[in-house]
């Protein structure tokens, strides 16, 4: 577990240093994710190796980690109420449009390239 956590933190650390050095508008953890992916692809660790178990551990309770940021909404209840209609409509419609166009675009090209569906 400790080895797993170290590898995740090191990937994030290098990612954070890269985005700051190159002045990128990308989060350090996203660059760290790319690095960790490369490490996994090169090393091909077995599923019970510490390298993999650390990641499994933090992913198991991923929803928990978003709770503190989400609670921040309580500081903005006034603003959200005052502009409720434009905010609700803008948020829901663009979310729906983004969701469906992403799925539609991907499905279309999957079909055009003759790939079979991956179903449950």
């Amino acid at each position: 577990m400790v080895v797993g956590l170290i590898s995740l933190l090191l990937c994030q650390l290098v990612g954070e240093l890269v985005v700051r050095t190159l002045d990128l508008t990308l989060p350090g953890p996203i660059v760290g994710m790319v690095l960790y992916f490369v490490v996994l692809q090169v090393r091909r660790p077995p599923t019970d190796s510490p390298l993999v178990r650390g990641a499994q551990g933090v992913l198991r309770h991923l929803p928990l980690l978003y709770v503190p940021a989400g609670v921040g909404v309580i500081s903005y209840l006034g603003v959200l109420g005052a502009q409720a209609l434009p905010i609700a409509a803008g948020l829901v419609l663009s979310w729906l449009a983004g969701l469906l166009v992403t799925a539609g675009g991907a499905v279309l090209v999957l079909r055009l390239t003759g790939q079979r569906s991956v179903l449950r």
Binding site: L5, L8, C11, Q12, G15, T25, L26, P27, P29, I30, M33, V34, L35, Y36, F37, L40, A55, Q56, V58, L59, H61, L62, P63, L64, L65, Y66, V67, P68, A69, G70, V71, G72, V73, I74, Y76, Q83, P86, I87, A89, G90, L91, L93, S94, W95, L96, A97, G98, L99, L100, V101, T102, A103, A106, V107, V109, L110, Q115, V118, L119, R120
Partner: protein
């Protein structure tokens, strides 16, 4: 002996112990309720835990900054957890590689659509271009959406709130909406949830299936990149 209730209370809410404990208890209660109701989508654990913890703070009159004395320790783990999303991607890497073109087309089309609709609808209904600018990057994961709002003239803290709400929307309704529109391919489903609802959507996608989780994590990363490139260009056309 005298009771120092006020002093004890002030110490408690300002202590990291309070924020951490409240977050964990709210999350555990939310999960229990979710399990008891047969995993009902509307009782999504993230949404419920936020309502429980946020409601408790409002009831107790504790402000968000005080809560974050503890909350920050849990939020810190988001960094390594985001890195960890490479694991599902690695496990499904053959599937991902074969779907490279559909993934890129889906992400670019969805990203542009999401920004244009967010900006135009919000501006049209509010007449407030600052509010519309704060809405425009909300599909990208929080650090990116906040940075974009800051550099392009939106209100960063509002963008953070919109981003989280878009995430919750995806965790609660994403899979159901995709089923309603008969999107069955697991790759397309995961991709759409990750593109529209970043990490919070991805946490739900991982519960649906490993393929959806992998494509959702991938979509979150690619959409952050696409939004950072497309938003400044689209704003030239929209404003």
């Amino acid at each position: 002996m005298t009771f120092q209730l006020d002093a004890a209370w002030t110490w408690m809410v300002g202590s990291p112990l309070f924020g951490v404990t409240l977050t964990l208890v709210a999350y555990q209660l939310a999960r229990l309720l979710w399990e008891r109701t047969g995993r009902h989508a509307l009782l999504n654990p993230v949404l419920l835990a936020i309502v429980l913890a946020g409601g408790t703070l409002l009831l107790l009159g504790v402000d968000y900054g005080t809560y974050m004395e503890g909350g920050q320790y849990i939020a810190f783990l988001l960094g390594p957890a985001t890195v960890a999303l490479a694991l599902p991607l690695h496990l499904e890497s053959r599937l991902v590689r074969r779907a490279a073109l559909p993934v890129v087309v889906g992400i670019v089309a969805g990203c542009v659509t999401s920004i244009v609709v967010a900006f135009t609808v919000t501006e049209w209904l509010s007449g407030d271009s600052e509010l519309a600018l704060s809405m425009a990057p909300k599909s990208a994961t929080t650090p990116v959406s906040i940075a974009l709002a800051e550099s392009l003239g939106g209100i960063a803290s509002l963008t953070a709130v919109f981003t989280i709400l878009a995430g919750i929307l995806g965790a609660v309704a994403g899979p159901a909406v995709l089923s309603l529109f008969r999107v069955r391919d697991l790759r397309a489903r995961g991709l759409a949830v990750g593109a529209a609802s970043h990490g919070i959507g991805t946490s739900r996608a991982l519960e649906e299936s490993s393929v959806e989780g992998a494509f959702s994590g991938l979509a979150m990363g690619l959409n952050a990149l696409a939004t950072a490139i497309a938003l400044p260009l689209l704003l030239l056309l929209l404003t």
